[in-house]
Point group: C2
Chain length 337, copies 2
DNA sequence: CTGTTAGCGCGTTCAG
DNA sequence: CTGAACGCGCTAACAG
């Protein structure tokens, strides 16, 4: 069946003339072993090129040494950064991440979570997504859980969210400070919690500045480049004047930038543009995009670190990450035409 | 220790009043079972909300139902697409991918591969990377292997490469056809096989057109945005005239585009730009980037499909993927200044 | 310090 | 068609 030579712990024990438990002990440092036997065992291990079977260890220990991570799209420029942070935090801990994608689809996510639970992951990280809180709470009964992008208060849960409203408020206020009064907003997907929060921040900034909210300046947009293109086209068709655009995320900002380019509208000379997220690529847009930085890598790293604590039986730690405006070149002072 | 209720197969058997093997049988469809017992077992499964312990199944079956995937950077826009293809091909096959990053570092990769082998992955996919062929061949003795970005002829190995030389040749010829004669080349990383092949394609195109190779037009560049910026600056310092740039990958092309923007050099009016890869974002550059499309998603998908075949005991399939030039807006006909 | 004895939870003969 | 017995490879008491 399996033609690949695979040495077992028993074989090592036999070769070294000791019992299997002794081998196990020196492998895990579980107990003191005489130097003589230790040497013999180590020699045997080397000679046989023995490597423990992790699956068997897992079964015996009742732990899989894996943590499940449900992201929405493994190729998303934003979430990938978080995955990277998770990967880094888990490196050399013995835990391996199991990444699965939920595709912003509740049914998919439920299935993936089940898959991970069946594989007996020792912990779970859910990056945003569409799962209802109840399912998450239910899942937390079976395994330590970390969720991002939402607040969830429960015993074995650590939730990690940033203040999208404040970020949007800052961005909009920045544009206002630059002299803009007609600020369009690409509002993301209807009903998405992040979108809702960012819109709220936008509105509050307008309020603060005594600028009336004009709904013809606000348009929904998918959270991707295509959505940005479509949104700008829609805005242009409406023939509402605007001198700045605040996009609910960098990908739609990038799409917006292209749509403006296509119409021969210069950024930032004619229209200022601000995004949200600060994707790695946003620094290399032309012009480099001014945006609200969301620490995606840190989010992932922090999530993983918190999960490690929880898997260790410790309580979920406290902390908060903040967003900040990164001023680059896609927005400038409004100048009378 | 473990406070989470976990039902076992034995409990289901007891509850249904049958033997564990019967439960196992109906779980795996291994043999015919009387409808009466089947119904009882299914009821018990539902009542107890039983889910098989995958770790235990794996140990018993001798298969982990996982495939290892070593990528270089989990957040790389190029490789992420391949991961996505792998994920899609593996969906609903029962196999779960285990993604690890090698960071373009031989030592890291060796360690990661060992980690995957220890976890008893049933198959392995290595996306490019720095591993010497010997190590790969050695690994292939233990597990079915698929490698991309290189040619490796061996029994249990499937290698999948695209013709970088041809792609670069096509791109360069395209620029020549547009009337360009002074075509700079951002040559990627010294010694990288892809970089070498792409440079060769560039040179062959020049030869074909009877244009002398001018080494002052060629400059090394990291395969990222920063590398593109640096390369353009270096080129500009050399004060060699050029009317077009062929970058060895899209990320460096994007960096180049920004560097040109900074110097007030218009793309494509003053300098034409062509990249390589066709990253998802390249469609949304301003201007949209003309580039050589490398089917990253397909590569991943094909790799996974081939691996599935091999894990099934079938021989490695044959096939080849091709590159194609995607003409967009970053390059145009050369016009006398 | 060390060997022996039991499992971990399930798949798979092997007899019935 | 079904159950009993054994084994996957390793860890974890339990005696010595």
């Amino acid at each position: 069946m399996n033609d690949r030579a695979t040495t077992t712990l028993d074989q090592v024990a036999r070769q070294a003339g000791v019992s299997p438990s002794t081998v196990s002990r020196i492998l895990n440092g579980t107990a003191k072993v005489s130097d003589a036997k230790r040497a013999r065992v180590e020699a045997a291990i080397a000679a046989l090129n023995y490597r423990p079977n992790v699956m068997a260890q897992n079964l015996a220990r009742g732990r899989s040494m894996t943590v499940g991570v449900v992201t929405q799209d493994i190729a998303s420029p934003f979430y990938s950064e978080s995955l990277k942070g998770i990967e880094a935090a888990l490196a050399d801990t013995g835990y391996a991440p199991l990444f699965v994608s939920g595709h912003w689809n509740e049914a998919d996510e439920i299935e993936r979570v089940a898959l991970l639970v069946d594989r007996r992951v020792d912990g779970l990280i859910v990056l945003t997504g569409m799962l209802p809180d109840e399912i998450l709470l239910e899942t937390a009964e079976r395994v330590p859980l970390v969720v991002t992008g939402r607040q969830l208060a429960a015993p074995r849960v650590f939730s990690l969210d940033i203040d999208h409203e404040a970020g949007a408020h800052t961005a909009t206020l920045y544009l206002i400070g630059l002299g803009h009064r007609r600020i369009a907003h690409l509002a993301g997907v209807q009903g998405h919690p992040d979108a809702r929060a960012r819109l709220a921040g936008y509105r509050r900034a307008l309020d603060d500045a005594g600028i009336a909210y004009d709904e013809t300046l606000v348009v929904d947009a998918q959270f991707n480049e295509e959505g940005g293109v479509a949104a700008i086209e829609q805005l242009l068709e409406r023939r509402t004047a605007f001198t700045a655009v605040f996009a609910a995320n960098d990908q739609s900002a990038t799409g917006a930038r292209l749509a403006l380019y296509r119409r021969g509208i210069a950024v930032p000379e004619q229209v200022s543009l601000v995004g949200f997220d600060d994707l790695p690529g946003s620094l290399y847009c032309t012009p480099p995009l001014t945006t609200v930085r969301q620490p995606a890598y840190q989010i992932g790293r922090t999530a993983a670190l918190a999960l490690l604590e929880m898997m260790d039986g410790k309580p979920a730690p406290e902390l908060s990450l903040s967003v900040e405006l990164v001023v680059r070149e896609s927005a400038c002072a409004y100048s009378q035409p």
